[in-house]
Symmetry: C2
C-alpha cells in the first residue's frame, strides 16, 4: 500500500480530531487506555496524539488525586478554555453579549439597554458597547474569539439578512454580518432570537438532549421556534413557527384576554399580563377565566404545530413563562382535545439568558462543523488558534 | 509518528469509501487524475484503491470511446449493479415490490392485488408473493439484497411498529420487521407510506434536490408528510403531518364537497372525485364550485404546515394529483391569503410507483449511513457482498 505524506498528514489530523472529540464528549478526564478505547486508535498513536495536543494547548494533564496505591495512570482533559465564542442577543429592550468557553459555559457578559424606538445606528452602537464590555470582563480580545453568533428579532434568512421585523421600525435590512465582520475576524452567524432561545433550552436548559421540540414564545409578541433532529430548523426563508399569523389560531389577539381583564384595569399594557397571572394565582375568578381564554387560543396554534411535527416536548418560553405555575395546566387541558398525544410541556428555565446562550451554542456548532463533520475532517481544518499558556 | 496496522487499515478503508462515493456522486466515469482531485488522495494511493475496488466489484473500467488522438486516459465508473435493495409498498388495494440498483434505478417489480378487507395473514402472503415475483424478475435471490424498506399505511414508530391504522382493521401491531427478517438477511426499515412517497419525490421526482418540502396526499384519505433537511421527518412517535385531524381544517370532511356534487350523482364514492374533476375540466359550474370548496379546506391545513415550516415546495400527491390541472390553481389561490410566502406547488409525477421507490431510497440511505457516516467510517463497515461477475 502506498502511504504518501498527504495521507499521513490526513491520518494524523483525523486521529487528533477524534481524540479531542472523545475527551470533550466524555466531560471527564480519561487515561491513555480509555482514550485508546474511545477512539479505536493504537496505544502508540495515542501517545503521539496526546503529546501533540498538549503542546498545542487543546488538552491538559490532570493532577493525580492524592492518596491511592502505586503510581496512578496519567489522565487528560479537554481544555474548554482553549477557545471562546461570543453570543449576542439584540432585543427590543436590551442588547446582551456573553462570552462562553468551548463547553458553552458563560465566562463574562456585557449588557446595554435600548428601547423599541432606538434607531438602527444607536442599536448597533449599543451592541458594540455590550461586546466591548464582555471582552473586557473576560480579559480577552476580539481576535481571540473563534466564532460569533447574534440573535435578532424578526425573520432572518440563510445569509443572515433580517428580512422582516414587526417590532422595530428600521431594523429590517440591517447588515449585521458586515457590521460584525468589521470588528471580529472569525465566522459570523445571525439567527432569529426565538430559534436561539429554543436551541439554548435544547442544549443547556429544560429540553437538554430532546431531539424534536416546539418552543413557544409566550409574551406580548407571541411566536414559536422549532428544534428538529437536534438542530434549529430554519426553513426556506427563515419564516418558521409563524402559524400564529393564521387568524383562526387567535394568536394575533390572544393577549387581549389578559389586557382587558378587570384585574389589570388601569395598568399599562406591558404590566397587564403579570397582574392577571398574579390575580389568577390567588384565585381571582375573572383572572382565571382570562388565563383560560388565553390558553385556549395559545393551544390552537400550538396544536397545529404539534400535529404537524409530533415533537417530544413543548417548551413554554417568553415572558409569560414566568407564570407557568398558573398557565401550564390550562394550556395542557386546552391542547388535549386537539392532539393525538399531548407532548410534555416544560417551562423555560434559562430566563433572560436564553437567547444569548443559544447564540453561543450556535457559534460552537459552527466550529464543530468546521472540525468534526465528514467534510471538515476530510479537508484540512483551519489550524486552531494556539491559546495563550494558562 | 507511530503508524500501526489498525491505523493503516482504517486509512485504506477511508480512502476506499471516499473513492466509491466520489465515483457514485459524479454519476459519470472519472479518470485517475479526476478521482485524485475529487478525493484529495495522492496518485499512488488512488492507483492502489482503484485496483482494490475493481477486484472487489465496486467499480469498473469504462471502454475508451473510439477515435481521438493518442492513448486515452483510463476512466472508471461506480458499479450501481454491485448491489441491490428491495422496496415494498403495502397499500390498501395493492402490494408492490421493486428491486433497484445502488442508484435507485428500478430493475424489476412484482405486484399483487388486495382489498381493504384482506386479513393480516393474507396481506402478508400477498407481500411474500410480490417479493418473490420481483426477485424472480430480477434474477436475484433474497440473500443478494443489501437492504429492504417497506412502506405501510398508518402511523409507524421508530422501531418500525405500526401503531395506528384507520384504513385497515387488523393491521396495527403487525410485526413487519419480524416477518421480513425471517425471509431477508439484511437491514430492514419500515416507514409510513406517505413519508416514503415524499422521499421519492425529493430524490427522484418533482422535488429532486429540494431540502424542505410538505407532501400532500390528496385523496379519499387525506394526509401529509414532511421532508426536512433532505430527509423524511419522523417526529417522536411517527405521527407527523396529522394537522388534518384538527376539526377547524375541515380535512376530515373535505371530500364530501366532491362526493355530494351533482356531477358525481349516482356514482360509487370511490369514483366521485374523478367525475367531479372531469366535469370541472369541461367547465361545469357546480363541479368547479365543488373543487374550489375542496381546495379551500385543503388550503387551511396546508397553510398551517407552510406557516410552521416555511418549505421551499409543496408537492401535491395522492390520487387527486392526477387532476392537478384543475386543482392546482384553486389551491394556490386559497393558500395566498394565509401565507407569508406561497411555496411553489408541484404535482407528483411518480404516480403509483412513488411509495415503492421511496422505500428503495430509504433502504439506500440506510446503506449509505452504514458506509459513509462519520460513525460508519470510523468503525469497520460490514464488508460489502462481492457481486457475481457481470
Amino acid at each position: 500500500m502506498h502511504v504518501s505524506g498527504g495521507d499521513l498528514q490526513r491520518l494524523r489530523q483525523l486521529n487528533s480530531l477524534s481524540s479531542i472529540r472523545a475527551l470533550r464528549d466524555a466531560r471527564r478526564p480519561l487515561t491513555l487506555t480509555e482514550l485508546a478505547a474511545h477512539t479505536g486508535l493504537s496505544r502508540g498513536s495515542i501517545v503521539d496524539v496526546v503529546t501533540d495536543l498538549q503542546e498545542r494547548g487543546w488538552i491538559a494533564e490532570v493532577e493525580p488525586s492524592p492518596g491511592g496505591m502505586g503510581r496512578p495512570a496519567r489522565r487528560y482533559r479537554f481544555r474548554a478554555d482553549a477557545g471562546h465564542v461570543l453570543g449576542i442577543d439584540i432585543g427590543v429592550h436590551k442588547v446582551l453579549a456573553t462570552i462562553t468557553d468551548l463547553n458553552g459555559r458563560a465566562v463574562a457578559s456585557g449588557r446595554t439597554s435600548v428601547s423599541p424606538g432606538t434607531p438602527r445606528e444607536q442599536r448597533l452602537d449599543a451592541m458594540n458597547r455590550a461586546m466591548d464590555a464582555a471582552l473586557i470582563a473576560a480579559g480577552l480580545t476580539s481576535d481571540q474569539m473563534w466564532g460569533v453568533a447574534a440573535g435578532s428579532v424578526g425573520v432572518v434568512d440563510r445569509e443572515g439578512v433580517i428580512t422582516r421585523v414587526e417590532a422595530l421600525p428600521d431594523w429590517a435590512g440591517t447588515d449585521l454580518v458586515g457590521h460584525l465582520a468589521a470588528r471580529l475576524p472569525c465566522p459570523i452567524t445571525i439567527e432569529n432570537d426565538s430559534k436561539l432561545a429554543a436551541l439554548a433550552e435544547q442544549r443547556l436548559g429544560v429540553a437538554a438532549g430532546v431531539r424534536d421540540l416546539v418552543y413557544l414564545h409566550a409574551g406580548r409578541r407571541p411566536g414559536a421556534a422549532l428544534i428538529l433532529n437536534g438542530r434549529p430548523y430554519h426553513g426556506f426563508s427563515g419564516a418558521t413557527g409563524e402559524v400564529g399569523l393564521m387568524e383562526i389560531t387567535g394568536w394575533r389577539t390572544m393577549t387581549d384576554h389578559l389586557e382587558s381583564c378587570p384585574a389589570a384595569a388601569g395598568a399599562p399594557a406591558e404590566d397587564a399580563a403579570a397582574l392577571v397571572f398574579g390575580a389568577a394565582r390567588t384565585g381571582d375568578p375573572a383572572a382565571r377565566a382570562a388565563v383560560e381564554a388565553y390558553a385556549q387560543d395559545l393551544a390552537l396554534g400550538t396544536a397545529a404545530m404539534v400535529l404537524t411535527l409530533d415533537p417530544e416536548v413543548v417548551v413554554l418560553g417568553g415572558g409569560f413563562s414566568r407564570s407557568a405555575d398558573v398557565l401550564l395546566a390550562p394550556l395542557r387541558e386546552a391542547l388535549a382535545p386537539h392532539c393525538l398525544r399531548v407532548p410534555e410541556i416544560r417551562p423555560s428555565t434559562l430566563g433572560e439568558e436564553c437567547v444569548v446562550l443559544g447564540a453561543a451554542c450556535l457559534a460552537l456548532d459552527h466550529i464543530d462543523h468546521m472540525f468534526f463533520s465528514p467534510e471538515g475532517a476530510l479537508s484540512p481544518p483551519t489550524a486552531p488558534q494556539r491559546p495563550t499558556p494558562a
